[in-house]
């Protein structure tokens, strides 16, 4: 390792052409991040042919910049319209959207972008210093470890919602059941499809989210006859500086989010669970957990820091192990192959200029990215000033286009509409939506990892306790799962009043 490698990298990344390429990539990426349904994978696939005329380092800078842009951009529609532009910005809607409704969209956006940048920076520094070592750690994660992580994500989140715990349970169960529809990869059998072709691909998380959150929210807000208080948002950059003054307060949330994000980012699809877990921990450790979900800035900081940290960390297995951490990385991998590079453990020694150029470009790309999106804050916030009767149908159209774009499938648009109505009814009847969404994300991953583990151990559950890493994570997960039950018991044992001062459940 060492400094000279990184300096070599910077000498490659900081050329006028490569900086220009980064700006182009980030602009396109932000657009992709904003539009639900369009993911980084689409953008990368489209730009790929363009990269054949470039040196591989410029090419990968273009593609990764697009990816950073998408990571930043995902927060914009989450905050402004409650529509997560990307899966990992679902948790950002929980507090970001209420903030926007209260006329604080500018603050929420600034906090989101800044957190993204901090999370990214944290991951990049770790990659710079420890990339090969981290790759070794990633290798030690087999199915039992992954299942333990899914369990931890889940158990950190349950018991956090308010209202009727039975209704939370229904949401969770429904999410898991929907996640089970389609092919069971462990046995290759079709579940709950009843021979209907359209059910075979199962329920896509992003379709459900566009419906539940996007359409559901539109229906709720027209019912309440509310319009956005966009006018309260100033049209200048002062809001950025004002928000920056508040943000140091959340230093601990930043660090926690960055750690969670980086650690989870190794695993394919890690950014989304990471954002949920970070949100859950922020709420658990907060002095005011009751403010979460109603417009707490910390509720934006936590998921965004983790999501971007995970997004950056996902690049690591791609370059060091040759396995993609996300669909976007998968398409990039295809790119590496076409450029004549062999992704995998040898890349560091065989193509140091490429690898270190890429790592250096992570710094430059994210710095350029955060400056660009922050400069756009007043503009994004001003979107809310668009008259209501134009904005409403526009959001519906964007949702429909997005839902179709995910799999180029019309049935998905219908699913989205149905999820929209479900979202509206559930919200009115106090069924929480977040557990449903989380269960839908984790259901598939968790069940596969669990069953792979059990096949490996021939049906014995001890596999989660005999392997050291899995054991630590599983115990932590069980601790959080039973904390709501254990806390009163523990307090009684010590002669304290049965209600804890910091409500971990409600």
């Amino acid at each position: 390792m060492g400094l000279e490698n990184l300096l070599l990298g910077f000498s490659i990344a900081v050329t006028p052409f490569n900086l220009f390429v980064a700006v182009v990539g980030i602009t396109l990426g932000t657009i992709i991040g904003v539009l639900p349904g369009l993911g980084g994978a689409n953008g990368v696939a489209i730009l790929l042919p363009l990269t054949f005329t470039m040196p591989p380092t410029s090419a990968i800078i273009l593609l990764t910049s697009l990816y950073w842009g998408a990571l930043f951009g995902g927060a914009i529609t989450s905050i402004l319209f409650n529509i997560p532009g990307e899966p990992w910005s679902v948790a950002t809607t929980f507090d970001g959207y209420p903030l926007a409704r209260q006329g604080q969209g500018g603050q929420a956006l600034t906090a989101a972008f800044t957190s993204s940048f901090v999370g990214a920076l944290f991951s990049i520094v770790l990659i710079t210093l420890f990339a090969p070592l981290l790759a070794e750690i990633a290798l030690r994660f087999g199915p039992p470890e992954f299942f333990a992580i899914q369990l931890l994500t889940f158990s950190s989140f349950v018991g956090l919602g308010g209202g009727n715990p039975l209704k939370s349970l229904v949401s969770i169960l429904l999410g898991f059941i929907l996640a089970a529809v389609g092919l069971d990869i462990v046995t290759g059998q079709l579940r709950m499809t009843f021979g209907i072709t359209d059910l075979m691909k199962g329920f896509d998380f992003i379709i459900a989210v566009i419906g539940l959150f996007g359409i559901g929210e539109i229906l709720l807000s027209v019912e309440e006859g509310l319009t956005f208080r966009g006018a309260a948002t100033g049209m200048n950059l002062k809001v950025v500086l004002q928000t920056w003054k508040i943000l140091p307060r959340y230093a601990r949330t930043f660090v926690r989010g960055a750690f969670i994000g980086f650690w989870m980012g190794f695993k394919p699809g890690g950014a989304t669970p990471a954002s949920f877990m970070s949100y859950a921990f922020a709420k658990r450790f907060s002095k005011h957990p009751e403010r979460f979900g109603k417009g707490e800035l910390e509720g934006v900081v936590a998921p965004e820091t983790a999501a971007h940290a995970a997004g950056v960390a996902a690049i690591l297995p791609m370059i060091t192990l040759g396995i993609p951490g996300s669909p976007t990385a998968a398409v990039m991998l295809g790119g590496l192959i076409i450029w004549g590079l062999q992704p995998g453990p040898l890349l560091f020694t065989e193509k140091p200029d490429f690898v270190w150029g890429l790592i250096a470009s992570m710094y430059t790309g994210n710095i350029i990215g955060v400056l660009m999106v922050l400069a756009g804050v007043p503009f994004f916030a001003a979107i809310l000033r668009v008259p209501f009767a134009i904005l409403t149908p526009l959001i519906v159209v964007v949702c429909a286009v997005g839902a179709y774009a995910v799999h180029s499938s019309m049935i998905d648009v219908w699913y989205m509409m149905i999820f929209g109505v479900v979202g509206y009814v559930f919200k009115k009847l106090d069924y929480p939506l977040a557990p449903l969404v989380l269960a839908l994300v984790l259901g598939d991953l968790a069940e596969n990892a669990l069953r792979q583990s059990l096949i490996m151990s021939q049906g014995s559950l001890t596999v989660f306790f005999t392997r050291p890493i899995a054991c630590v994570i599983t115990v932590a997960a069980l601790f959080f799962l039973f904390m709501p039950i254990l806390t009163p018991w523990w307090r009684r044992l010590r002669g304290l009043p049965p209600t804890p001062s910091a409500p971990a459940e409600a």
């Binding site: 790929l48 042919p49 290759g188 691909k201 398409v331 295809g334 992704p343 995998g344 453990p345 490996m456």
Partner: protein, 325 residues
């Protein structure tokens, strides 16, 4: 000098005739939808995106190609999508073995006969891999160890009742051993789990493990083919027959089909287009790096090969108890 100019003239003539014929023949008039019945990052997806890349780079298609992944239901989603596009001249699909295995195992109603065969591009090899830190230098030593451990060694593979499991069962039956088969979502994931020692062996395609091999993390023991792979360092890997004495061979189709009842002229255009793709240096390098067997063919020969292979899969899956009950 004279010779050169003659050949240039000849080339120009040839190019002229080619241009003239292609101008009269069918050409795509809108973007081509290229369906991948598998997820992003796998072998089929890589190849589709390579074809897309080569077509763009060498300007081989007048209209853009749009790669669409439809991996639901072990690829059933993609196949049924194309099956529904009767007579469409702008939809093609890349196939892997799930063309045969998915309908046989899940009973989803489609068959290659619903589609229009276009070309066979290549055949993919399978190799028996173990972790490089294990003491097994040959397949014989490894199989002996599997026997000794009495059914507790783990074989990792992609999906369930698909090619990797078929191969595992073939190996089990030929050698009288027993593995614990652990299914994963994709080939890259399988090989990483081998490197991480979460499984004991895999039957990965060369492309999925090659980088770990070069980094000395995994060791190839035998090729599941009748002859050795004739390129590069792959030559050093014995066939399964050389290594174990039993002749287990299996190759996976990497081919292209079109929508049902695709017009004849359109099929001809795709055959010509793909022929040009396979003649580019980029394609040849990819084939060599990933130890793919070049096997370009089309027309009746292709159909005959597919027919034979469908029967082969039916037999193999019946033997392994993988057919839908």
């Amino acid at each position: 000098m004279r010779q050169i100019s003659t050949s240039v003239l000849l080339l120009m003539l040839l190019a002229g005739t080619l241009l003239a014929t292609s101008a009269a023949a069918w050409e795509p008039t809108k973007p081509i939808e290229f369906v991948v019945p598998a997820g992003t990052g796998g072998g089929a997806d890589q190849m589709a995106r390579l074809i897309h890349g080569i077509a763009e780079k060498h300007k081989l298609s007048p209209r853009p190609i749009i790669v669409v992944n439809k991996s639901g239901g072990a690829g059933a989603e993609g196949f049924l999508h194309v099956k529904g596009k009767k007579g469409d001249a702008h939809t093609i699909i890349i196939t892997l073995s799930n063309l045969f295995t998915t309908p046989l195992h899940t009973g989803v109603p489609f068959s290659w006969k619903d589609l229009t065969p276009v070309t066979r591009l290549a055949l993919d090899q399978f190799i028996l891999w173990v972790n490089a830190e294990t003491p097994y230098k040959t397949a014989k030593e490894y199989i002996a160890a599997v026997k000794e451990k009495n059914g507790t060694m783990k074989m990792g593979g992609t999906g369930s009742a698909q090619e990797d499991q078929i191969l595992t069962i073939m190996l089990e039956q030929a050698q009288g051993v027993k593995f614990i088969y652990v299914p994963f979502k994709g080939g890259g994931e399988v090989c990483v789990n081998l490197v991480g020692k979460h499984v004991d062996s895999t039957v990965n395609n060369p492309a999925e493990c090659v980088s770990h091999w070069k980094a000395n993390r995994v060791r190839p023991l035998a090729v599941f083919d009748t002859e050795r792979i004739p390129v590069g360092e792959w030559k050093g890997i014995p066939t399964i027959k050389e290594a174990l004495g039993s002749d287990i061979h299996y190759l996976m189709l990497r081919g292209i089909f079109g929508a049902p009842d695709m017009p004849k002229e359109a099929v001809d255009w795709y055959v010509g287009f793909l022929k040009k793709v396979t003649e580019t240096p980029d394609w040849k390098k990819y084939m060599e790096d990933n130890a793919l067997k070049p096997a370009f063919t089309s027309g009746a020969e292709y159909v005959k090969w597919v027919e034979e292979n469908e029967q082969l899969h039916r037999d193999l899956m019946a033997k392994g108890g993988l057919l839908k009950q």
